[in-house]
């Protein structure tokens, strides 16, 4: 394992410190407890939005803090949900009096730690609503699992909820629109290579030179199925199948198509994937009216990608188009 780090124990702190010097116009950070807030937090009268989770998925969530998106991001250790203390501190730091929304990916650790933080915040008089994101169709949602995971669809929830909060929606409305996005987005991913967690120093799993892992999670967890390598177009079709069936998406739907890189995949490949995904949707009469391509929800240096499809209506489209100014996603200002 070779990594551009110093002591593995300090990776997250040093990265957040670096983030602060790199983006002083967008954010402020606290290093103990560790969190990132938008430069002008708290914004009086605006619903605050806090997300977080294990580190290693950058730019999610720190790179999504800024006007029109998150008010705060709380990074845990690599691939480990943060503890309640920094979540509480971040919640307090962004509370502008209109309450705070927690956007939580559906992992036992994230859910439990945010739950505790929300209880503590409530005890301090801050109104908190929580939305649990579970867009990953690779995991069956049933009584017999911890439920679907939250993956790249989280970025879309954060953008749209952020726009709703920015235009002044109240806490219940912001939570409702976040729920609506979560209910309308489906994702699935593939890994070509594993990733290496700094403190572990070895890959989270191994894949032969001709194998890929379908339905991969974003923490280096193995996926559901291991298959032989295929051409990109075939892989895209393999991921899109379960995604489209699940909602289900239908001919005539307007959608946002999001091809997310897992970190180590060259951009040319993401666009090769995007080309086929857009073509495949067109073949089914689904109308791609908004797009996003890039490394947003990553797994360190993992090679691979996920596809997310979000069903749009006028409200979601308007909120998607609204200005946003974060390190990783920016337009309109």
């Amino acid at each position: 394992m070779k990594k551009l780090i110093n002591d593995p124990k300090n990776v997250v702190t040093e990265a957040v410190a670096g983030f602060a010097v790199a983006h002083p116009d967008l954010v402020r950070v606290s290093l103990d407890p560790i969190y990132i807030v938008r430069a002008d937090a708290p914004v009086a009268g605006k619903v605050g939005i806090v997300s977080g989770g294990g580190s290693g998925h950058e730019p999610m969530h720190g790179g999504l803090v800024g006007v029109g998106m998150l008010d705060a991001a709380v990074p845990g250790a690599v691939f480990t949900s943060p503890t309640p203390d920094p979540i509480l501190a971040a919640t307090q730091a962004v509370d502008g009096g209109a309450g705070v929304l927690h956007i939580v990916k559906n992992y036992t650790g994230d859910v439990l730690n945010f739950e505790t933080a929300a209880d503590l915040a409530l005890a301090e008089g801050i109104e908190v609503a929580s939305v649990i994101i579970n867009d990953d169709v690779a995991v069956k949602d049933s009584l017999y699992t911890a439920g679907r995971r939250g993956v790249a669809g989280t970025v879309l929830v954060e953008k749209i909820a952020g726009a709703a909060a920015e235009r002044g929606d109240d806490l219940a409305s912001v939570a409702a629109v976040a729920e609506k996005v979560n209910a309308s987005v489906r994702s699935m991913g593939v890994a070509l290579t594993p990733c290496v967690v700094p403190h572990a120093g070895k890959p989270s799993f191994t894949l032969a030179d001709d194998e890929i892992e379908i339905g991969i999670g974003i923490h280096g967890e193995p996926g559901r199925e291991r298959i032989k390598m295929e051409p990109a177009d075939a892989i895209v079709d393999r991921l899109l199948g379960p995604i489209l069936e699940d909602l289900p998406f239908a001919s005539g739907d307007k959608v946002l198509l999001f091809v997310n890189g897992m970190g180590g995949t060259p951009q040319v490949e993401l666009y090769v994937v995007f080309r086929r995904a857009a073509e495949a949707l067109a073949e089914q009469g689904i109308d791609v009216t908004r797009t996003l391509v890039g490394n947003f929800t990553t797994s360190l240096e993992m090679q691979g990608m996920s596809i997310s499809v979000l069903k749009l209506d006028d409200e979601l489209t308007t909120l998607w188009d609204a200005p946003v100014a974060t390190a990783a996603l920016r337009w309109g200002r």
């Binding site: 250790a77 691939f79 949900s81 650790g109 439990l112 699992t145």
Partner: protein, 212 residues
């Protein structure tokens, strides 16, 4: 013989030592069916606990030690195991209250309360391939030992043995909770890391009790 605060502190220090010793092993178990950080998480938490123990005020009770463990784990571990073990120690602290000496009944209650705390937060049942598969047999073994009027040392030994067997029993299972549940059938054949760390902690309790 009863167990006092000296034991409680010794237990936790020994627990921290064995967790550190088995850090890589717990990571490896978690890498197979989770995200590979369970040893890291537990070790980070217990190292923090040890530092806090160094500053434990004179006159503290076993319950104070358990409370300190609880709050420290909650604020340093993160992940699923942080809130789960944290709540376990919190409920255990409430169960033992402010008494200075724990008899077999109190220790059995401590273990049961810990387990109940984990269930309260995580909603797992036996067979879900989680730490509960170690905790619940331990609770049952402790209750049985208590009914048989066993010594507190024997009670803890039997609880630890039951936890160890419970950890082994997770191997053939499909998981229904936690990250391992995403794997479906592919989780079969792997031991649950949280059940293993549970066993390490209960074994540390028994061994320090035997030496107390």
């Amino acid at each position: 013989m009863n167990l006092n605060v000296t034991w409680a502190e010794a237990w936790i220090r020994e627990g921290a030592r064995v967790i550190a010793e088995h850090r890589a092993e717990l990571n490896t178990l978690d890498r197979a069916i989770g995200d590979g950080d369970h040893g890291e998480n537990m070790d980070r938490g217990f190292q923090a606990v040890v530092l806090k123990l160094d500053a434990l005020p004179a006159g503290s009770t076993p319950g104070d030690v358990l409370k300190l463990v609880a709050t420290t784990l909650i604020s340093t571990v993160g992940g699923a195991s942080g809130p789960l073990f944290g709540t376990a120690f919190l409920k255990a602290a409430v169960a033992v209250g402010t008494v200075g000496d724990l008899d077999a009944a109190a220790v059995a209650a401590l273990i049961a309360a810990a387990r109940d705390g984990i269930v309260l937060r995580g909603k797992a049942v036996v067979g879900d391939k989680t730490m509960i598969d170690a905790w619940t047999p331990a609770v049952d073994a402790a209750a049985a030992a208590r009914n048989a009027d066993a010594s507190v040392v024997t009670l803890l030994q039997q609880a630890a043995d039951a936890a160890a067997a419970g950890a082994v029993s997770t191997e053939p299972l499909v998981a229904h909770k936690g990250r391992a549940s995403y794997l479906g059938e592919r989780a079969i054949g792997h031991r649950d890391p949280g059940a293993e760390s549970t066993t390490l902690l209960l074994r540390a309790a028994a061994e320090t009790a035997a030496r107390a």
